[in-house]
Every structure is written in structure tokens, then in C-alpha cells.
């Protein structure tokens, strides 16, 4: 079916907004579940947008998706408090061990199920990342405050960094394995890191330069950030660099370079907020339903072992890092969401290695599909259980 894209997009947005409100008022669920559900239905009906991701420049939602992602990751990076990690080494240990164990158990699972080691590595790397989007949305939607919310944002941002970085190495390896090109294998990750880091510094530097003249909480500052991020996306596309790493690093660097707090309005204002919400619709829409069905059982197994890995690390290391056991387990549970970042990481691999991408997509897309629904519920449950959500909401 080939619908007029604007009409179709309008319809999707309206229905998604209603569905979000619907699941919220009927069950008290995070609204993003409604958005994801509608996105999935739209995708399954093949309404003509399922080319949005991989983010081809011409895809109708490509720029919207990239922009939403950039805003969100820039914001998430700004929540990474490196000083806290230094003051509480247990927290850093938790983050690293949680990521390593998640990687290990998922990789083992995939190998055990009879897939290749390369595929297992790819799946495992992508599964390390907790969706910063889901975490940020659910904490924001329910106005959660406290240790769990803070640590959740921090750990999600960190394991996203690990996954994004590891994926670049994986791409290098794939160059080697599929392209048999040693130099490409070596140089591509170097180019990607170098480019991403340089651009991240540049972005952070410009923001830092302009920041003192703005009231960061108002829309004038948001306009500036939008412009800079859009410029960043344009540059990233020009140099064929991935969209995930630069905004995240820029956020982290900006937060770390000066101790002066930079308090932006959430998602850089309401337009940013809309873009972030759209991420969920687009992510869900982009899941290929053929893949989702094929990967179903494996995905369920991944969801299970991945969560068990995260929960057990937290259960052991939470206490020395200053949490109660109850909070630790809740935090482990809350680390399960996977969403847009996983999608982009998968898509980046799939565009370069389509054959490999089919197998990878089957597994990851189904995992995302399951966690788009379970993830937000898990986060909400954990926050509620730890008393970080107001009774009124």
C-alpha cells in the first residue's frame, strides 16, 4: 500500500498519541508503550515507512530519527557524572562488570543455539546497551527522583558507550572477515573514532563557548542546541560517520569539562520532547516483521539471560556501592530496555553486510520488539518499588 506520506504520518502520530494516552489511563503504563505498539502495527501493515532506519538520507523519517537520537544521546551524555564514578569505584565496577557479563552470557547463549561466533559477538555487543531513551522517558514521565533514577541514567549511558564503541571494533572485524581487507579492518575503526571524537569535542566546545550567554532553560538556548546538533548530523553524514557516538561523547565531555552545572530544559524544550517521543514510533515502525517472527524464541531466551546477568551483577555489587538489596535488584531489572540504539547498531551492520544483517536483524529486532513493551514496564515497576515515583502519578 502506498499512502500519501504526510497523511499517513499524520494518522500514525494521532493514533500513537491516543494509544499512549490510552495505555496510560487504562493501566498506568508508560505512554511510550502505546507509541511503540502503534509503530509496530504500522510497520507490520507496511505503511511505507519501514525504510526510515537504516537512516538513509532520503528516508522520510531519517532526519527526524537522527535528530531525536542526537538530542537524546547528547542529553544522556550530560548525565554521566565521571566525578561520581571516581568517588564511588564500586559504581564503575558495577557498570563494567554488568556490561562484560551481559556480553558473555548472551554470546554463550547464541553460540549454544548453534549460530556462528561472529553473529554471537554482534548480538552480544548490541545487547550490552540499555536504552537511554526508555530510561529517560519513563523517569521523566513519572517524575522519578532518587538514587535508582540517577544510577539508571548513568549506567544506561555508560553501557551505551561500551556497546557503540565495541560495535565499531566489530565492524572492523567484519571488514576483515568479509572483505578480507586488513587495512580497512584496521583503519575503519580508527577513522570512526577519530572523526567522532573530533566532532564531539568541536560540538562541546561550541556549546561551552555560547552557554554563558544563554538561559539554558528557555527556548532560545534550545534553538542553539538544535542548530548545532543539526550541523553535527550534516557533518557526520558528510564524513560517513555514525550518528550515535558523537552526541553522547559531546554530552559527557561538556559535563566533565567544567563543574558548573548545565541545566537544560528536558529534551531541550517541547520540540525536542516530541522528537524523542517520535523515536519510539519510528523505532517500532522500522522493525521488520518478517525478522521479528523468525527470531522470536531466541529473543525470548536473550531477554531472559540478559536480564538475569544484569540483575545478578547488581544484586552482588549494589550493596558495596551504597544501595539496599531491594534497590539493587530493582536497578538490575530496570536495565533491561532496548530500543533505538540497538536498532541503529543493527542497521549500521546490516547496510554494510546485508547477508549477515538478515540473521542479526532477526534476533535483535525480535528482542527489541519484546523489550519495547516489557522494558518501560520494568523501569516503571523498579522505580515504583524503590519509592522513587510519587503516589499521585
Amino acid at each position: 500500500m502506498q499512502a500519501d506520506p504526510i497523511f499517513a504520518a499524520a494518522l500514525v502520530l494521532i493514533v500513537a498519541a491516543l494509544a499512549g494516552e490510552g495505555v496510560f489511563s487504562a493501566f498506568g503504563w508508560p505512554r511510550i508503550i502505546g507509541y511503540s505498539l502503534i509503530g509496530m502495527v504500522t510497520g507490520a501493515l507496511g505503511l511505507g515507512f519501514n525504510t526510515a532506519v537504516p537512516a538513509g538520507n532520503s528516508a522520510p523519517f531519517g532526519i527526524v530519527f537522527d535528530m531525536g537520537m542526537a538530542l537524546l544521546l547528547f542529553e544522556a551524555g550530560g548525565r554521566v557524572n565521571l566525578r561520581w564514578l571516581r568517588a564511588n569505584p564500586w559504581l564503575l565496577a558495577t557498570s563494567v562488570i554488568e556490561a562484560v557479563l551481559t556480553f558473555t552470557v548472551v554470546a554463550l547463549l547464541i553460540v549454544t543455539l548453534g549460530y556462528s561466533a561472529t553473529l554471537a559477538t554482534a548480538v552480544a555487543i548490541i545487547c550490552v546497551a540499555t536504552s537511554p531513551a526508555v530510561v529517560m522517558r519513563v523517569t521523566a514521565e513519572f517524575k522519578a527522583q532518587g538514587q535508582l533514577s540517577e544510577r539508571l541514567l548513568l549506567l544506561a549511558a555508560l553501557n551505551t558507550v561500551y556497546a557503540v564503541v565495541a560495535q565499531k571494533f566489530l565492524l572492523g572485524w567484519l571488514h576483515h572477515e568479509y572483505g578480507n581487507n586488513f587495512w580497512a579492518a584496521l583503519l575503519h575503526p580508527v577513522y570512526v573514532f577519530g572523526g567522532s571524537v573530533v566532532l564531539a569535542f568541536f560540538l562541546a566546545w561550541v556549546v561551552a563557548l555560547c552557554e554563558p550567554y544563554f538561559d539554558l532553560r528557555d527556548e532560545h538556548a534550545s534553538l542553539l542546541v538544535f542548530g548545532l546538533l543539526l550541523l553535527m548530523i550534516a557533518l557526520l553524514r558528510t564524513f560517513e560517520l555514525p550518528v550515535l557516538l558523537t552526541p553522547l561523547l559531546a554530552g559527557i565531555w561538556l559535563r566533565h569539562r567544567a563543574s558548573r552545572p548545565l541545566v537544560w530544559s528536558r529534551h531541550f524544550g517541547s520540540v525536542g520532547g516530541v522528537l524523542v517521543l517520535l523515536l519510539f514510533v519510528i523505532t517500532a515502525m522500522s522493525l521488520s516483521w518478517h525478522h521479528v517472527v523468525t527470531g522470536g524464541v531466541v529473543a525470548l531466551a536473550i531477554v531472559l539471560v540478559r536480564s538475569l546477568a544484569k540483575i545478578s551483577v547488581l544484586a552482588v555489587l549494589g550493596k558495596p556501592s551504597g544501595l539496599s538489596l531491594r534497590q539493587s535488584v530493582a536497578l538490575g531489572v530496570a536495565l533491561c530496555p532496548m530500543s533505538g540504539v540497538a536498532l541503529v547498531l543493527t542497521a549500521e551492520i546490516a547496510t554494510r553486510y546485508p547477508d549477515f544483517g538478515v540473521a542479526l536483524g532477526a534476533i535483535i529486532f525480535s528482542t527489541i520488539a519484546i523489550l519495547e513493551i516489557l522494558g518501560p514496564l520494568a523501569v516503571k515497576w523498579s522505580l515504583k518499588r524503590s519509592g522513587e515515583i510519587h503516589n499521585g502519578t
Binding site: Q145, Q147, P261, G322
Partner: protein
């Protein structure tokens, strides 16, 4: 419920309570971290106590009985260091200041304990508007009658304590124009204000019985007076101070209070009378509003001078007592704040003018609290 009998304590011993702000280190807004802090430092040995308060973003530290200034500084330092360590582990900040400059009261949470839920139910939104941070100083008294006399004597100096400690110019993101806006939020409570002018403990018991018979109060805790007797400790408790930005200032204020009390107990230059209270509210308002520049009306002579001038006159008058009590360095620091440095409210305003962003102001308040 009858009031318990007044315990005896050593004259002029001190006890200090400080209500602190618990803030996040991202936005530097208040954050409900008290329960986490208490858990992390549960097994630490401290000279005093660390307790939860009505708001989940507030924590109270107190000293044990202090002999004097040096003792108070040492005790506060020890507790502060343990608390700061715990906060660092949790990624939290701690700071003084009578108000948080930009918190929204509606976002605040009540600490999960029956007494606080009861207060919240009783006072409604007032209990959240009451999320302000004060310093209380206990002064040891040998007996109940002298405690009451001392209470009414110290009432004359309430504007001093307010102006010296004032650290709450901002409320809900706005400069109120007051040096201590915190006291305005306390004013709304039905039993805020001052103790009735009775000079013997027997008369006070009659008053207390009348009040309890009406059923509106149950115990001394229900009175939110500026100074109230604390029979079980054998002290009077001075409660008008904002929590200062540093523990040094907190200890200096206690030292000042101790010195005023000793001077008056020994020399009786001010004999309290009922009519002294005619100017009480005016003086207190002036100190809240304008700090050292507020007008002070002498309750005996009706003479007008500034609060700052009256403090300097007091510092001059009790100098020998300050030396005896070894509070002279503390008093010198306070004198300096009157004559040159300004109070904490002035510091906060100046910093805001320079930095323009309140989160940065709170961050620097946290740094001062640690130092």
C-alpha cells in the same frame, strides 16, 4: 498530657542542630536522598546524631552536649565529614542555606515515617512550604525558672541571631528581597511566634495545661516558637537561625549565643519585661527583611539604630565574657561579617549576580559546606 519536669543541665553548655539540604549533583535541585544517606552511614560512630526530617530531601545533624566553641567546631566537623563522605558515594550534594533557592514545593516528598505523614496530613501544603532549613541552638540551664528568665532575655537578641545567620534570600527561583525568607514560611503555622511572657515555671505549667486542655496542642513540639524550653534536656532552644553555609558559621553563632547568655546571667544589664515584646515582631521583621541594615528598636529606650550597630554594641559590651569563654575568635569573625563581609544572604546574592544561574549558586554552597 502533663509537661515533664525540667531536667537540670550544666549552665551554658551548648547543643547544635542543623537541618541540611540534600541536593542532586546534576541540577542541584533538592532530591529525596535522606533515606539513602542514613543507610550508608548507619554504622558510623558519631559525636552526635543524624536524623531524618519531614522532607525526604532534608537531613538533620546534631551535636552532643558541647562545652564551648572549640568543642562545637570539632563535633560538627566530625559529623560533617562522615556525612559528606556518604553523600559523595551516593552522588549527592549537601549544603547549608535557610531555603533551597529554586526548588518547587509541590515536587517535594515527605519522608516515609508515621510522624511526618501525620504532620503532612494535618498541615496540608504548609508542610511542603515548610521545607526550609534552620539551625537550632540549645543552651543548658540549671533550673526551670532561670531557663524562662533567660528565654525572655534572649528574645531581645533574636534580631541579631536572624541577621547573623540569614542565608535564605531566594525562594522558588526568585529573590525575595529578604535576607531570611525562611522565617516567613514558619510564620504561617498556628503556634509560631514567641513564648508567653511568664517568668516562673509554675506559671508556665498553668499556661501549658490550659493549652493542652483545649486539645489544640499535645506537647512542647507543637509550639513552633522562636525560643522554647526543652524540659527533658534542661535547655532553652533558640530556633530562629537559618542554617548557615558553613559549619564554622554555625559554631560561631552558637558561641555568640553562649556569650550573650553568660554576659546577661552575670551582669543582668537587660531585665526582661512584658512590654519588651511590643517591638519584638517589628525588630524580627526588620532583621529578616534587611539583615544588618534592618532597623532595631531598643525595647527599653525606644531608640532606633540598625541591627548591625546593635550587634557591634553587644560585641563590645560582652568582650570580657567572650575571652573567658574562649569565644573571642568566633565573635571576631561575626564582627567582621557585620562590618565588612556581610552575612550568607549577601554572599548568595553576590554569587548569583556574578554567575546568574541558581544551580551554580547551590553547587558553590555545597563546596562551602564541605570546606
Amino acid at each position: 498530657m502533663a509537661l515533664e519536669s525540667f531536667a537540670t543541665s550544666r549552665e551554658l553548655t551548648l547543643g547544635i542542630e542543623l537541618e541540611l539540604q540534600v541536593v542532586g549533583t546534576h541540577e542541584f535541585n533538592l532530591t529525596p536522598g535522606a533515606a539513602d544517606l542514613l543507610r550508608v552511614m548507619a554504622k558510623k560512630k558519631l559525636p552526635g546524631e543524624v536524623k531524618p526530617e519531614i522532607a525526604a530531601s532534608m537531613i538533620e545533624i546534631s551535636t552532643g552536649v558541647c562545652e564551648g566553641y572549640a568543642d562545637a567546631v570539632a563535633q560538627l566537623q566530625e559529623t560533617r565529614d562522615v556525612l559528606v563522605e556518604a553523600a559523595r558515594k551516593l552522588g549527592l550534594g549537601l549544603c547549608g542555606g535557610g531555603t533551597h533557592p529554586f526548588q518547587q514545593w509541590s515536587e517535594q516528598r515527605i519522608f516515609d515515617a508515621p510522624r511526618f505523614h501525620h504532620l503532612s496530613a494535618l498541615y496540608g501544603y504548609l508542610s511542603k512550604q515548610f521545607i526550609v532549613f534552620g539551625q537550632h541552638v540549645h543552651l543548658g540551664c540549671t533550673d526551670a525558672d532561670s531557663a524562662l528568665r533567660l528565654l525572655h532575655t534572649m528574645s531581645r537578641y533574636i534580631p541579631h541571631f536572624v541577621a547573623l545567620s540569614a542565608s535564605s534570600p531566594f525562594v522558588q527561583g526568585t529573590d525575595t528581597g529578604f535576607d531570611s525568607a525562611r522565617l516567613n514560611s514558619i510564620q504561617a503555622f498556628p503556634f509560631a511566634g514567641r513564648a508567653p511572657f511568664v517568668s516562673t515555671w509554675d506559671e508556665f505549667l498553668v499556661y501549658f495545661d490550659k493549652m493542652t486542655r483545649t486539645g489544640v496542642v499535645e506537647d512542647m513540639k507543637d509550639f513552633y516558637w522562636d525560643i522554647r524550653p526543652k524540659p527533658e534536656f534542661g535547655t532553652i532552644e533558640i530556633r530562629v537561625m537559618d542554617t548557615p553555609l558553613t559549619i564554622a558559621k554555625a559554631a560561631q553563632l552558637a558561641a555568640y549565643i553562649q556569650t550573650v547568655a553568660r554576659w546577661q546571667l552575670r551582669e543582668n544589664t537587660f531585665v526582661p519585661e512584658a512590654d519588651d515584646y511590643l517591638v519584638y515582631k517589628f525588630n524580627r521583621f526588620q532583621a529578616c527583611r534587611s539583615g544588618f541594615n534592618g532597623t532595631f528598636v531598643d525595647p527599653k529606650t525606644g531608640e532606633h539604630r540598625s541591627v548591625g550597630e546593635d550587634i557591634i554594641a553587644t560585641l563590645d559590651a560582652f568582650e570580657s565574657h567572650a575571652i573567658d569563654l574562649k569565644t573571642d575568635t568566633a565573635c571576631a569573625a561575626l564582627r567582621d561579617s557585620v562590618t565588612t563581609a556581610g552575612n550568607d544572604a549577601a554572599w548568595i546574592r553576590a554569587l548569583h549576580k556574578e554567575q546568574r544561574q541558581l544551580p551554580e549558586v547551590v553547587r558553590q554552597q555545597c563546596l562551602r559546606w564541605q570546606s
